[in-house]
Subunit: 349 residues, 2 copies
């Protein structure tokens, strides 16, 4: 899900709604309410759902050799295409494009400079005309120069008004309901759920608390440098710089999990070649492990892309046949959106 986004940047956030992991009821002793009897109501019965339930049962049962102590229960999730929609364009790319008129207003010389000139004239239509270095210039311009606090506030404002071209809904409405249920099942069973995204760490932190119940320190992503300094009034200030510090894609995912979390996950979920190394690193640990891939094979309810049934490769969310084969070889259950998910979005109630 994360190719060609090395220019993405990060920031900080205080999320009032951020939830802390709960270590409440063990999985099997939950009361026999409807929720407890099926903690994954948006999932069809099948191998994918069964793999999740087996994993939770095994890792939380102290009598099972696959038991995992609570403080080692780390589960990592890619975001774009794994927790929410990534087509036709990564949400953060749209944010960056939307920011360019404001950037040019502050630096009018840019209006006659590429790639900004093309973005001003063509909007998102410019996307197909621009090279990766051009896109990095746009990301750098949109994601640097402001304080970390101002950036967070701007992302939050934008997410209130921006809508997806297909569903005409806010992007944060386009999270996958089955994955929300999975996050809850894991947290209810003592897992710390973390996002590990090729997208900008600061961007995702701005809404991860409200949207996923995941606090900022559990969001790992691509990150730019910040610079500590002082505002004119003498107050300390952290400014976002246009210099990449962490590229959280491919091998960068396990590297940055180690940097930021400091433990090897016991479960990992992704949907593209950029998640391969995270899945390998996670499932190579000793004891019970779970690695899963979301396959976008539902053109009707969402999108179809990737390797299943000869679906065409896609620049966004590239999921190669090689990864598909590796998943089979390593027993990573593949989640078919078409077959495994009863519904995709919460508004499809």
């Amino acid at each position: 899900m994360t190719q060609d986004r090395s220019g993405m940047r990060r920031r900080t956030v205080l999320l009032g709604a951020a939830l802390l992991p709960t270590f409440a009821k063990p999985f099997l002793s939950a009361p026999a309410s409807a929720q407890a009897s099926d903690p994954l109501p948006s999932w069809n019965d099948g191998a994918a759902k069964q793999a999740i339930l087996d994993f939770v049962r095994t890792t939380t049962d102290p009598a099972n050799p696959g038991h995992v102590p609570p403080d080692e229960r780390i589960a990592t999730f890619d975001q774009d295409g794994t927790l929410w929609v990534e087509h036709p364009v990564y949400t953060q790319v749209i944010y960056c494009f939307d920011r360019i008129p404001g950037v040019v207003a502050r630096k009018p010389d840019l209006a006659q400079t590429e790639p900004f000139k093309t973005v001003l004239s063509d909007g998102l239509g410019a996307l197909t005309k621009l090279s990766t270095p051009d896109l990095e210039k746009i990301a750098a311009a949109a994601l640097s120069g402001m304080s970390v606090d101002d950036f967070r506030a701007d992302v939050q404002r934008w997410l209130e008004i921006a809508v997806h071209p297909r569903w005409k809904r806010r992007y944060t409405d386009l999270v996958y309901q089955p994955m929300q249920e999975l996050l809850h099942v894991l947290r209810d069973n003592g897992f710390k759920t973390c996002i590990v995204t090729g997208g900008g760490q600061d961007f995702v932190r701005a809404y991860a608390g409200r949207t996923y119940g995941i606090p900022p320190e559990q969001v790992v992503g691509s990150a730019g440098e910040t610079a500590f300094g002082y505002a004119p009034d003498g107050k300390p200030r952290l400014t976002k710089e246009a210099k990449l510090l962490l590229n959280d894609n491919g091998p960068g995912k396990p590297e940055n999990i180690d940097l930021m979390i400091g433990r090897r996950p016991v479960a990992a979920f992704g949907n593209s070649d950029g998640d391969r190394e995270m899945l390998e690193w996670t499932t190579a640990g000793s004891g019970k492990r779970l690695g899963m891939l979301v396959l976008h094979d539902d053109a009707h309810r969402e999108y179809a892309y990737g390797p299943a049934a000869g679906l065409p490769a896609s620049k966004i969310g590239a999921f190669s046949q090689a990864l598909y084969d590796e998943a089979k070889g390593r027993n990573w259950p593949v989640i078919s959106m078409k077959n495994d998910w009863k519904r995709i979005f919460s508004f499809e109630m």
Copy 2:
């Protein structure tokens, strides 16, 4: 506490003993046991102890305008000189020197190459003869080339046998008991306690769980890059590289707090000029804040260095008169080890 250590590196760790923050009893409603009536028994009554108790009471009282919601209760602690002894030499420097014979055994050419030759002949006595670039070479050689798992295991083995030259005790016995009580008071009141050290993140993570009850994801420090790859048996492997990624000192402290934790702390504790920016960043936030500095003014029970009463400046743990003056100007209470601490170590029962 953190000058001249830019070569320090990091790694990952699974700490069975790592504690998670508890959100149990509010401060004021604790039962009237001896512990509850004085949660800081190793502290003498005085301005420093009072400042801590006032801060906890204010931030945890929902009726107080200074109340801080639980998920925003972040407290950051420098380590060397703030949580444990840093004199006469940073513990990690001793570890690195101890590692050099093993490094040379694997690369015999180094035996005739400086600075390794001097380290082999003079041991820690070489310290005063070596330049900062020399020390960086030693750190890079001692802290890279192995897997993150092997590094953690080696640090843990070393800490079992290495002893401090003065007390003849393990380094992890030389944590300050009053600061341990402070960590506990904060955690008992819903604070997440984090270490933010100029020392190596991986080094500190190897013992922070057992020693401080702080899990790896709450240890931020100077960090080298890692490289994802595959061992000869095909298993994924993270190798420590000799390239600095994060220099967690001075302005690097707030920058890396933002990167790793993503929230501005409400309390911060340090003991040197390397903690200045962290204290400024923390205390410049809105609402109730606490910044404190540990002053090493007890030559009898520990060491005396820093600005108090004309004590000489020291390369290790440099605490300038300028920082001392800033602390007074900003109402950062200074903790006098001599006057504020009844005892320094737990073995002084």
